[in-house]
Symmetry: C2
Subunit: 346 residues, 2 copies
């Protein structure tokens, strides 16, 4: 540890908690009555609204690699991926709590950097950090556990299970870039490990690297849908890759799906980097994961409301229950069954 | 891994999640609308009540040792310590979400055993397990992150900050046993490591070992206080030891405290084991931690309501702000300043 940094053990548990608490923004949600500092936070959920709650773990060595991921970005991403789960219910985030396990190799300043990233994201999404728990990590790995709360009018709640025959299948933003960003970062890491004088030049990869290191939850689209007076019949966020999320949606709704390959939204940068890395951009979109875009279904009758929106792409439609299964329709007219590729990292 | 056990990697992420989901009890709280299975759980918080939210991490190697702590007990304890934070607000637990990181050395059956313990605790406290996240643990250590929600009438909410001059300082149950249980278990572990034929005989230590391995949240006392028509002016749970919790209470309330040594509730078994281990039972009560009893203050005028309750012991009273500080009053009449001993495990 550099001499100008403060070892964690010089503060102790209570000293660290006091210091982190000072770096948390004061609550802005009307429903937050008491934030950090008691045995529990105290909330006053808005009467008449539904509340959603979701939890996510982010582990060093599984979900992020500190050799190329700055701690501030890790903090931002930890909040963003949880807010993304709230967005996937068509809800607005209100509060979150953070559990943190840190190893002795981290300095107080490093943990504060992580918190600075979480604070930035909390401000971006208007969510209050109202509580937490901090402990040492026996293996030394950094671990972040976040539980996010949100709220939504009952009539606007979007679950996974409401997709109907002939509904339009829509996706926000573009797909596959986060996965390609990870490949670029891993390539540069290997080059650095082989030659410590290697200086990575990531200028040509700004977009895909940014998509990997600092994803955004699509809260903007949640607000857009409200403005368009559209309530998705089903919605979820794309964390594991489009293919497995389409399958989740089909299974929960009891329908099938046809996804048109030529409709998949792929950024110019995604196509360029995929070509350079000899990877198929369609496979990156289907199985890459970590895009944190929203996948949702809309009744065919609402086609007019969404068809020209720049953030929304219609990629297919839902099939009848007796055609249960999800297919990729290729430009040549073939229907290829989609398969899920969740992690098998044990 | 024994041949009749199922390796985690044979199921994959989704297979494991499906199997764990099947082991979770169906929701019983009226406020739980949708439990496990979507991007987020959906709740309908009871109108007019305050909601509390608290999060805790439990890590193998920091908070529990699997060489002597059965996984079912670990699961039970993980839920109990979170419910204890809800109890410390004088609230009733309603829902919780669970984040789990498991290493490859665990079998599916081991993870199910952990879940069986959580289910038992959820049933005991009437709380719904409504969501979770499961991932692999890069260091192989088991990690459990739980966030608990609860609810309470505004007028019955008990924070840390309301203690007043002359309030009675009360504690539930008895203190120090959990720490002694840990010492006994560690002693037997060392004996086993030195001699694999060593068979621990824990019969003489049942109470203290039980207090360490399977603590209970004092929800019974939350209900008792309601029946006695007592709202604590301040309350918190004893996780780090009585001394540091008294100091937390004093700091949050801006008062001092006098704790009378001869009033400390110590079980007969605690005194016996402390003597055998040459430990001071008072020190175990003050600094041992993990008792998960409740510490609270009550106006002097309500002395009659609590003085004869078998689960409640009056151990002292609050001092004026100008005597700020917390003291242990010894039988010989000395006033010894209390000092906090949080963990410094980095």
């Amino acid at each position: 540890m550099a001499e100008n940094l403060t070892p964690l053990d010089s503060l102790g548990e209570f000293g660290l908690i006091d210091r982190l608490r000072a770096s948390v923004a004061p609550p802005r949600q009307a429903s937050t009555l008491v934030g950090i500092g008691d045995d529990a936070a105290v909330l006053h959920p808005t009467a008449g609204l539904r509340q959603v709650v979701s939890t996510d773990l982010l582990l060093e060595g599984v979900h992020f690699d500190l050799t190329f991921c700055p701690l501030k970005h890790v903090g931002y991403k930890a909040v963003a991926v949880n807010v993304s789960d709230v967005a996937a219910m068509n809800a607005r985030p209100t509060q979150l709590v953070v559990g943190l396990a840190v190893g002795a190799r981290f300095s107080v300043e490093a943990v504060e950097e992580l918190y600075a990233g979480m604070r930035l994201a909390c401000e971006a999404y208007g969510v209050d950090l109202v509580g937490g728990d901090t402990t040492s990590s026996p293996g030394g790995h950094l671990l972040i556990s976040i539980t996010a709360l949100g709220e939504v009018e009952e009539a606007r709640l979007a679950r996974r299970s409401g997709a109907q025959l002939n509904d339009l299948l829509c996706v926000t933003g573009d797909l596959g870039a986060a996965y390609l960003g990870l490949q670029v970062l891993n390539r540069e890491k290997q080059a650095f490990l082989a030659d410590p004088d290697h200086r990575p030049d990531l200028d040509a990869y700004t977009y895909v690297v940014q998509r990997q290191l600092r994803p955004e939850a699509r809260m903007d689209v949640v607000h857009t849908l409200a403005e368009l007076d559209v309530v998705p019949t089903a919605m979820l966020d794309i964390s594991d890759g489009l293919a497995s999320e389409v399958l989740h949606l089909c299974r929960a709704s009891g329908v099938g799906a046809a996804v048109y390959q030529e409709k998949l939204p792929l950024a110019e940068e995604t196509l360029d980097v995929a070509e350079e890395l000899h990877l198929d951009p369609v496979t990156c979109a289907l199985n890459g994961g970590e895009d944190y875009e929203l996948l949702f279904t809309v009744p065919l009758a609402q086609h007019d409301r969404i068809r020209n929106h720049p953030d929304i792409t219609i990629i297919g439609h839902m099939l009848a229950a007796d055609q249960r299964g999800a297919f990729l329709m290729t430009p040549s007219g073939n229907a290829i069954p989609l398969t899920a590729q969740g992690w098998t990292a044990f």
